[in-house]
Every structure is written in C-alpha cells, then in structure tokens.
Amino acid sequence: MADQKQSNNNINLEIDRLVHEPVRLKILAYLSAVESSDFVFLVSRLGLTMGNLSAHISKLQEAGYIKVDKSFKENRPHTTISLTDMGSAAFSKYRAGMLQLLQ
C-alpha cells in the first residue's frame, strides 16, 4: 500500500505542468499532427482569441517546446509554429505518463 502511494507520487511529480494545461496540451497535440502550422490555423481550430493563444504560445516557446518563425507573406505578418524535438519529447512523455497514471 505504501509502495503504491509512493509510486503514484512519483508519477505525479513527472507530469509536466506546462504541458498539462488543457489549451497548451491541445496546441502541442495539433502541432504533433503536422510538420508546422500557422497562427491562424491554431486560432481557427482552438477557438481562442489571438491574445490568449499568443500567451500560451509564448510560454511554450520560452520552454523550448515550440519554434516560432515570423515572416511576411504578401505584405502581411505570417507566423509559423512547429514542435521542437524537446517539445515532441515532452508531449510523448506526458502522454506516456498519463497512460501510466490511469492504468
């Protein structure tokens, strides 16, 4: 019983809080399904305001989980977002951790 409790605590400790937040988890899930996406795609799929999405994107970028490339396309700002290797590993680890926790 004590071992089980200790084991559960260990799993809890390994859950990445940055990934655990539902919106950021969805962002990572979408990015894991593509090579890269632009900002508008995430806005349309997640149903967030641009400001809200920007805040989450910044946090993920600061953690090194995503890469953000800003450029101009036909005189308009264009932001391309992709998952980094670190982000991909964090997302995979989170999924594995959650599966382990729920089993």
């Binding site: 539902p22 919106v23 988890l25 969805k26 899930a29 979408y30 399904a33 593509v34 090579e35 890269s36 996406s37 632009d38 900002f39 508008v40 795609f41 995430l42 806005v43 349309s44 799929r45 997640l46 149903g47 967030l48 641009m50 400001g51 999405l53 920007s54 994107i57 308009r76 700002p77 264009h78 932001t79």
Partner: protein, 200 residues
C-alpha cells in the same frame, strides 16, 4: 472551449484542412462534369484542360478563400507518405487497367472490350473513394459510389435508349451533383469561418 482532448479527433481536424472547404469536391466535380460536357459538344481536344483547370480552381480557392480563414499547415512525414502512396497506387492501378483494356481489345467480345466505360467508372470511383480514405472524409465514398452507379446505369440504359447518349448523361449528372455538393460545402465553410484579419 471544450476541455475534451481526443488525439484521434485532433488528427481528423488536421485532415479536415484538406476537405472541409469543399474545394476538392468542386475540383473533382469540375473534372467529371467538364469531361461530359466537352464530349457532348464534341470538343474532345478540350478534355486536356481538365487536368489543369480544376487544379487551378482548387489552388486559387485555397489561397484566396481558405487560408485567410483557417490558416495553413505543412503536412508531417506520415501525411506526406500517405498522399504520395495514394498517387503512386492510383497511377499503378490506372496503368494496370489501361494495359488490361489494351490486352482485352484484341481478344474478341470480352466484358472489358465491350464496356470500357464501366472500367473507367470503376477506376474513377476507386480513385475518389480512396481519396476519401486518405483525407478521412466520408462524403467522398458517396461520390465514388455515385459515379460508379451513374456509369453502370448509363451502361444499362444504353441498350434501351438511343436518342441520347446515356453515358454522357450519367457523367454530366454525377459530375453536376458533386459540383453542387462542393458548392454547398464551400458556402457553409465561408459562413462558418470569417476572415481572420489580424495576426498575433
């Protein structure tokens, strides 16, 4: 925002980028409808345009109507493999069927030599349905079935009706239905997603 996170659903949502707008339907419908019309007005030379014009409609539609509304994605390696695999398989099937037709042409009255358009319909239906499988969009199965059923009906009616060419009617009507469905899907898409004007 819903807190439900379903990875399969997210993957499906990503694939919807390629089919939600109805432009693929419009391109397929234009190809089939145009093929029928050009043959009906006896301008088979214009059929070559159908390899180009529907693609232009799809491309320009994506650029001017879709990307300003839902943005764009670059497919990952898995998606790229699926798309390339689809086109290679389709080319091989098309080539195989063409060879089969040529071999059968000189061997008397076989089913394939007597009904080449049934074979054409089958390949077309297979191509459209398998595109639905690749894009995870079920309405393409219906289109495939529709094209095959229309051509089969044309085949059956060709023995009964001689005043008009039932094959052409079948091709034009099935293409027209797909065009209409594509148009309705596009209108729904435009209503659902407004143009996103500012970027973060």
């Amino acid at each position: 925002m819903s807190e439900n996170i379903n990875l399969k659903e997210i993957e499906r949502q990503v694939y919807l980028f390629y089919s939600e707008d109805g432009l693929a339907d419009l391109a397929i419908g234009l190809m089939i409808f145009g093929f029928g019309i050009f043959l009906m007005v006896d301008l088979p030379a214009l059929v070559g345009l159908l390899g180009f014009f529907p693609f232009m409609v799809w491309y320009l539609g994506k650029q001017s109507l879709v990307i300003p509304r839902i943005g764009s994605i670059q497919p990952n390696q898995e998606m790229k493999k699926q798309f390339v695999g689809y086109f290679i398989t389709l080319c091989l099937i098309g080539l195989g069927v063409f060879v089969l037709y040529l071999l059968n042409r000189g061997s008397g009255e076989t089913f394939l030599s007597l009904h080449p358009l049934m074979l054409f319909g089958f390949v077309l239906a297979l191509a459209i349905s398998s595109l639905g499988m690749v894009l995870k969009t079920s309405r393409f199965y219906f289109y495939g079935l529709l094209v095959f059923a229309a051509l089969a009906a044309g085949e059956f009616l060709s023995t009964l009706i001689t005043a008009i060419d039932p094959y052409l009617v079948a091709v034009i009507s099935s293409g027209g239905i797909i065009l209409l469905a594509g148009g309705i899907t596009l209108i729904k898409f435009l209503k659902k997603y407004p143009v996103v004007t500012l970027e973060g």
